[in-house]
């Protein structure tokens, strides 16, 4: 019963958040300069034609009317069609207003469904790399607060957090791909193309994992039950791995939830630099082309994923520590 009540409450809150995000994005997109119809019809088309098509598409109605119409369709699972992309999914521009392919624009949901798994793969791999680096350094630092491992953890995370990701991306591509020919860097033609961008993203996430773990492990190790465990005759490894780590995991889990959601939005620069065909690249192109339905669709899906991940994280945290009440 607890889980059902919990899910009902959190999903309800999530729906409100998604609604507010959609309303905000929808309004902002229509307020900023740049008429998508002008892009659709081509620069040479007269203003009267632009107005005619805009009126036909309902783009000159009041914003709340447009939003109501849009949300009505979203509730039926229809995120609309891209303004500019044909069904092939190519990023296009400069078409004429008499473009015969307009009838077969790509569906926003299809475009997101094609690219989201790519970004998910990138995000999961980045998270795995970040955990591989962050957990040992963070735990080690937490076990020896104020001593060398702690300082090492601090310096490492400070160094990582100071590296701009676009710079690191280019440098790593030059080093690992151009100089050493170890990894491919640009585009996607197989799993190996995910490794390099994931490494760059991992460097971005690892400092948060290291700092969170250092602090939480150090905090847990100072608690009474750890002292008692020693009295009970448990070995240090047993104390650390069976008791301390489990108790330190809750803040890390919350952090991972937030970081993972941030990753889905934070891949923009990385995917652009590596020409990685995920949600980030799709978003950048959509913004450059004023592709309103696509931007809205991505925003709604990202918001929904953010909400769902946080619900899952809270559920997991409750499972680890039943005292928590969300």
């Amino acid at each position: 019963m607890f889980i059902l009540r919990f899910l009902a409450r959190r999903l309800g809150q999530g729906a409100i958040i998604i609604f507010l995000v959609s309303a905000l994005i929808f309004t902002l997109l229509r307020v900023v300069p740049g008429d998508p119809v002008r892009l659709m019809v081509g620069g040479m088309a007269p203003d009267t034609l632009v107005e005619e098509i805009a009126a036909e598409m309902g783009l000159r109605d009041p914003i709340y009317v447009q939003f109501g119409r849009y949300m009505g369709k979203v509730l039926q699972g229809d995120l609309g069609e891209s303004f500019v992309r044909p069904a092939s999914g190519a990023a296009v521009g400069g078409a004429s207003f008499d473009d015969a392919t307009r009838g077969e624009r790509a569906k926003v949901l299809d475009l997101i469904a094609e690219t989201a798994p790519m970004t998910l793969q990138l995000a999961v791999l980045a998270m795995v790399f970040a955990l591989m680096v962050g957990v040992p350094i963070g735990v080690w630092g937490g076990l020896y607060p104020g001593r060398l491992p702690d300082r090492l953890a601090l310096y490492t995370s400070s160094l990582f957090v100071s590296l701009p990701n676009f710079w690191l991306g280019i440098v790593l591509a030059l080093l690992l791909s151009v100089k050493l020919n170890l990894l491919p860097a640009i585009g996607y033609r197989g799993f190996s193309y995910t490794i390099l961008p994931a490494l760059v993203l991992a460097v971005e996430i690892a400092p948060f994992i290291i700092r969170t773990l250092t602090v939480s492990v150090a905090g847990v190790m100072g608690q009474t039950f750890i002292d008692i465990a020693r009295v009970r005759g448990l070995s240090r490894n047993q104390i650390v791995f069976r008791h301390a780590l489990k108790n330190s995991a809750v803040p890390l889990l919350n952090l991972l939830g937030v970081q993972f959601s941030m990753l889905l939005g934070g891949v923009l620069v990385i995917e652009f630099i590596f020409d990685y065909p995920g949600l980030g690249l799709l978003t950048i192109n959509a913004v450059m082309q004023r592709d309103f339905p696509l931007i809205q669709g991505i925003a709604i899906v990202t918001a929904a994923v953010f909400v769902l991940i946080n619900i899952a994280v809270d559920l997991l945290a409750t499972a680890i520590d039943p005292r928590l009440d969300y």
Partner: protein, 524 residues
């Protein structure tokens, strides 16, 4: 050994054995395999999504057409021989008289869909490509101004008597519009033409996969099957990403290199650079249909405020100085004696004459330019804005990303946005009218929006000249000097097309509009 240890060691041993069976190639090797493979070409510009060659003026898509489509002739347009024409689907072009042109066609050529290439395809292409409603209308007048006869399957006679202009105009245009299949044309602009490319060129269009245009070698190509298995033409928006792809071997050819990138790449043994004076001039377009640039004196004053030698310093190897409204490799080019040069005194004299002494009384002026596609636009845009401000023009430079700039580029009823716009214009033919008529005749006036009966008359006069020689004279002594006087735009310089390619790419011929011929290309 206790039970727990046994299980632990057993699991470790199992993992070790399993790891040995994982194929590491899955993770690492595929990107650098050097087996027979397609040529990978990275483009700086996206495509339109409509494959009809008459439906767009987008360079990247024209480059794709260069691989797939066949042309009656090709124009290599090298500076030493700008008028040279290489026969492709045509084998002979003869001027029967001033208004009649006979084109003999190659036999034994087939389209990629299996249809034999005949005179009906040329007739259909000429008539369709001349329609005034086509966004890339290429022939000198609408289809009613000429007729096409097909005495047999491999002879075409173009008669321009109805239009009153010389048939020789079709000579240069023959290397501009690709030949379409009459069957496709018959189904109109909403038919198969818009859905896929169907040509007679060395590569067959397979599909558009995301941002990749996939083409494969066409075994039935009349000059023999290409040596590479195909061409993958991809849009990659970021210049650094394109360069890294070339450096790590993922790309074979990249286009539109920035001068700084050239320096980096030239230092490497595995990369070579191709530099070509292009058919593209870069222009400062004035919006001639609204004040203050509806007055030629204000336009010319602005031209005299700009020191083009300083722009050339910024452009470095990516630009070539020229003093005309077309590229030096276009038919009829001449360094114009009256081309407006930097002259602050003349600028001030013209401003005062127009009623704006020292720029007083001029409205706030917006100068629109783009960043991300053409090299150095922002840098020289800032210079031009500063030079104009120095002479009293209240100019604000507005730098936009390509999509927003593209949206504001063209003329509209009542005048396009802003007062000045930066843009280049490239057309893959020596034909100067593809620039001059397109931009300065009152029926087209794509960007500047000029309506001037004298310019119209001069354009018609050179078009109607009875021979190529007479036409050249009309261009050089009447139209071009008149344009320099009336200054509907200022051509700043001619672009130099810079491609980077891997040294193992042999036999790739690049045309000055960016199209490539990869039919003889090998990846050594």
């Amino acid at each position: 050994m206790d039970r727990r240890s046994f299980l632990r060691y057993g699991a470790l041993a199992g993992t070790a054995l399993g790891a040995a069976r994982i194929n590491p190639d899955f993770f690492f090797s595929s990107a650098f395999a050097q087996e027979s493979r397609p040529l990978v070409f990275l483009s700086a510009e996206n495509i339109t999504g409509n494959w009809d060659p008459t439906a767009h003026t987008t360079l990247s898509q024209t480059n794709i057409e260069g691989f797939v489509m066949g042309y009656l002739t090709r124009a290599p347009m090298r500076p030493e021989e700008p008028d040279k024409v290489v026969y492709e689907l045509a084998t002979e072009i003869t001027e029967l008289d001033a208004h009649r042109l006979q084109i003999k066609l190659r036999e034994g050529v087939t389209f990629h869909d299996g249809k034999p290439f005949t005179a009906e395809d040329v007739k259909a292409t000429f008539e369709y490509g001349a329609k005034l409603d086509r966004p890339k209308q290429v022939y000198p007048g609408g289809p009613e101004t000429f007729s096409v006869e097909t005495p047999d399957d491999h002879t075409v006679i173009v008669d321009t008597s109805k239009g009153g202009y010389g048939a020789s105009l079709f000579i240069f245009l023959a290397s501009y519009l690709p030949i379409l299949s009459a069957k496709d044309v018959a189904e109109g602009p909403k038919g198969p033409l818009s859905q896929r490319l169907n040509g007679t060129g060395p590569f067959r269009f397979v599909e558009q996969r995301g941002n990749d245009t996939v083409m494969e070698a066409y075994d039935g190509y009349f000059r023999g099957a290409p040596k590479v298995t195909g061409v993958t033409f991809s849009f990659v928006g970021d210049a650094t990403t394109r360069m890294l792809s070339l450096m790590n071997g993922q790309a074979d050819v990249i286009e539109r290199l920035e001068p700084e990138q050239v320096e980096t790449l030239e230092a490497r043994d595995d990369i070579k650079i191709s530099r070509l004076v292009s058919v593209e001039n870069k222009y400062l377009w004035f919006r001639c249909s609204k004040p203050p640039f509806d007055d030629w004196r204000v336009r010319k004053a602005a031209c005299h405020a700009i020191d083009r030698s300083m722009i050339m310093e910024i452009m470095g190897s990516a630009g070539e100085a020229s003093s005309n409204f077309v590229s030096p490799i276009k038919f009829g080019y001449i360094d114009l004696e009256n081309y407006p040069e930097y002259n602050p005194e003349e600028c001030q004299r013209l401003l005062a004459e127009a009623g704006y002494p020292n720029g007083e009384g001029l409205p706030e002026l917006e100068y629109i330019t783009s960043t991300g596609f053409y090299p150095k636009t922002k840098e020289y845009g800032e210079l031009i804005a500063a030079l104009l401000q120095e002479q009293g023009f209240p100019v604000t430079l507005n730098v936009m990303e390509v999509a927003a700039w593209n949206e504001r580029l063209y003329d509209r009823p009542g005048g396009g946005p802003g007062h000045m716009v930066d843009c280049g214009w490239a057309t893959g033919s020596p034909e100067p009218d593809l620039v001059l008529r397109t931009h300065f005749h009152s029926t087209a006036k794509r960007i500047c929006g000029i309506v001037d009966p004298e310019i119209d008359a001069a354009l018609d006069a050179e078009r109607d000249a009875p021979s190529l020689e007479a036409r050249k004279e009309s261009l050089q002594t009447n139209l071009m000097p008149m344009l320099a006087d009336k200054a509907p735009a200022l051509s700043l310089f001619t672009s130099v097309l810079i491609h980077g390619m891997r040294t193992n790419v042999e036999g790739l011929f690049i045309y000055p509009d960016g199209q490539s011929d990869a039919s003889q290309t090998t990846l050594g």
